[in-house]
Subunit: 377 residues, 2 copies
């Protein structure tokens, strides 16, 4: 989005009492505040005449308020981005929820937000078993081209992010503070790594400290961006259960990893399974169940691709016709496993596009992935 | 059953080719072979004229064949019993399955077969976690008055039986060999203990060795006698899965205990849960789910009780009217926990009857059980 328009929207959000949900709805349909005031009727947006006056005032101001001004400066630094819901880089599944944030502050590589994502969440006070399970799911699903989403908290979140980084897979951390901060501070170095292989994301104004009330809202973004949520260890009363409730409201798949009956940190997962969540003890089970949502995501990605032809993915299971891009990728894969880096080198293709095609080919059973390397089946 | 009649039935089974299912059906409706030949029509039993001739021949024989003769001798030794499906001591739920055995050879205390039963089964090659979980469920459910049924195999079966014995609870071992044998021989001492606190049961002729083909038939008795089957650890291809299939056909509840995702012995349980079995991580969850089947069992027990009035159990959850026997039991229970032995002493009541009443009172929330002792709630 044009910086001038963005500045107006940020200012509106900063200085007026217009609720964020209304800002988000207006932003969905209007490029600039000028377009809003030119609109014949705003009643459908829940905008009262009072709100209309606020918008007018914001538009007339010639100097951006301090928050908006510093946000504009921030997003011009390398690696920093503000992605509005009008932007092609906005996570496609997040647009589908009831209250998508009007924009996201993003540190790192925004293209990872376009990959099919799966959330891995759980207890801060997890057991060794839980940490290992989170790491195993993150590394395996990450190597298959899914981006691993979590909340950068201690315990399970940390294990999931760290394992994805180690597997050179994409990972997205949604923060309960501003995108220019890191909480908890023990994860400063991990956050640095994530900004290289993935992205740190927040809807909160820059500089916001981590506060208890931010976390439930943060959790709706974690589940909203993801095709499914995997819970690894959760005590009977746990914050993870809030994320799960949101995931269910957002129509996302909910998976729970079981554990020993003697581990109190597994009780929440067991309760979820008794209540209908899908038990998973291997990453394949997650991939199988997510096919349809991942397909939707790949479809959205196709629209955004620089060369639209590159994603004419018409391959269904067993369908032997393939798009041009898929054929190109297939030609570079043999029975000898090859890394993603090697494929990038050979194909001159964007990483998210390549990942999406690899996932599609894997789901259709034409290639297989082992420890991050791809080969024909 | 009268020894003479029993001798005829055993002889029929031993020397003719009449299938066991037909013997069982005939035995359901006729006291003696004489009654069978006097019947106007046997077509409904699947008995051809040929079978009728066999029955005739058996009836005319004056000397019992060796197997029948030695079985009669065996069951006159202390602690040995042959219980036919006409006997009141035959397990009530087992009568309900498609192919109940015509009789059971029982070593130990046949009255334990009348208690509400729950089966605990699983891998021979179990982990320490699995053994501990089996022991925990067996000891807790046993202390609540349920009889613990299993197959005396190594691993989970052994842990369940041993833990029930240790908790002084009733336990029933269904054997894949004759009731006068023990397999595996490593469980000789455990079998001895079971014969004191519970029962060893087999439908096979005395002297039968343990054979692979006996086990699936044995498993239908384990699930058939039980209100529910709890599987603790089972590999992906496991004998326990056969028992589970039978339990489902017999309309029994199937419970599975989860475990670590790194434990290959938990894979079968996880698969079962994904396919619809109920995940349980605490014994309370089993008790809650079994209420209705246990009620049925207590009803059957009422018919058999020496004093029928003793079991006019009309208490539903929250219903404050209680039968005479329940009132008697309640009068002996205070807020200070009391053992079953003490109650037996005070009440002069049969153990199965007392157990059934205690379970009923516990399910209705009027008393609670802690470590085998009962107190008012």
């Amino acid at each position: 989005m044009d910086l001038n328009c963005l500045s107006q929207w940020l200012a509106l959000s900063e200085i007026t009492a217009v609720p964020s949900t209304i800002v988000s709805r207006l932003l969905r349909d209007f490029e600039s505040l000028q377009d809003v005031v030119d609109a014949p009727d705003l009643a459908a947006y829940g905008a009262s005449p009072e709100i209309f006056t606020q918008i007018w005032r914001t538009l007339k101001q010639t100097v951006a308020p301090p928050g908006a001004a510093s946000a504009l400066l921030w997003c011009q630094q390398p690696g920093n981005h503000i992605i509005t819901r009008r932007d092609g880089a906005y996570p496609p599944l997040l647009k589908e929820i009831v209250d998508p944030p009007p924009w996201l502050f993003v540190r790192g590589r925004p293209e990872t937000l376009l990959l099919p994502q799966v959330a891995i969440i759980g207890s801060r006070n997890c057991s060794v078993d839980g940490r290992e399970a989170a790491a195993m799911f993150a590394s395996d699903l990450g190597s298959r081209g899914l981006s691993i989403c979590s909340g950068l908290a201690r315990g399970i979140d940390t294990a999931a992010h760290a394992s994805a980084c180690k597997a050179k897979a994409a990972t997205v951390a949604v923060l309960g503070c501003g995108a220019d901060k890191v909480y908890p501070s023990s994860n400063l170095q991990l956050a640095q790594e994530i900004s290289h292989t993935g992205a740190l994301v927040s809807e909160l104004p820059l500089g916001s400290p981590a506060r208890a009330e931010h976390f439930p809202k943060r959790n709706r973004i974690i589940s909203g961006m993801s095709a499914g949520v995997i819970v690894v260890e959760a005590a009977e009363r746990s914050g993870s259960l809030i994320t799960v409730r949101m995931a269910i409201e957002q129509n996302r798949e909910v998976f729970a990893v079981p554990g020993s009956v003697r581990n109190p940190q597994s009780r929440g997962c067991h309760r979820m399974i008794r209540d209908g969540a899908t038990l998973v003890d291997s990453p394949e089970q997650v991939v199988e169940q997510l096919c349809s949502l991942v397909d939707f995501q790949i479809g959205s990605l196709g629209i955004l691709a620089a060369e639209p032809v590159a994603l004419e993915c018409t391959v269904a299971n067993g369908d032997k016709t393939a798009g041009k891009a898929e054929r190109e990728v297939l030609q570079q894969i043999g029975y000898d496993p090859v890394t993603v880096d090697k494929l990038i080198e050979r194909l001159n293709m964007e990483l998210p596009v390549l990942h999406a095609i690899l996932l599609k080919l894997e789901l259709s059973g034409r290639i297989r992935c082992e420890a991050g390397r791809y080969a024909l089946t």
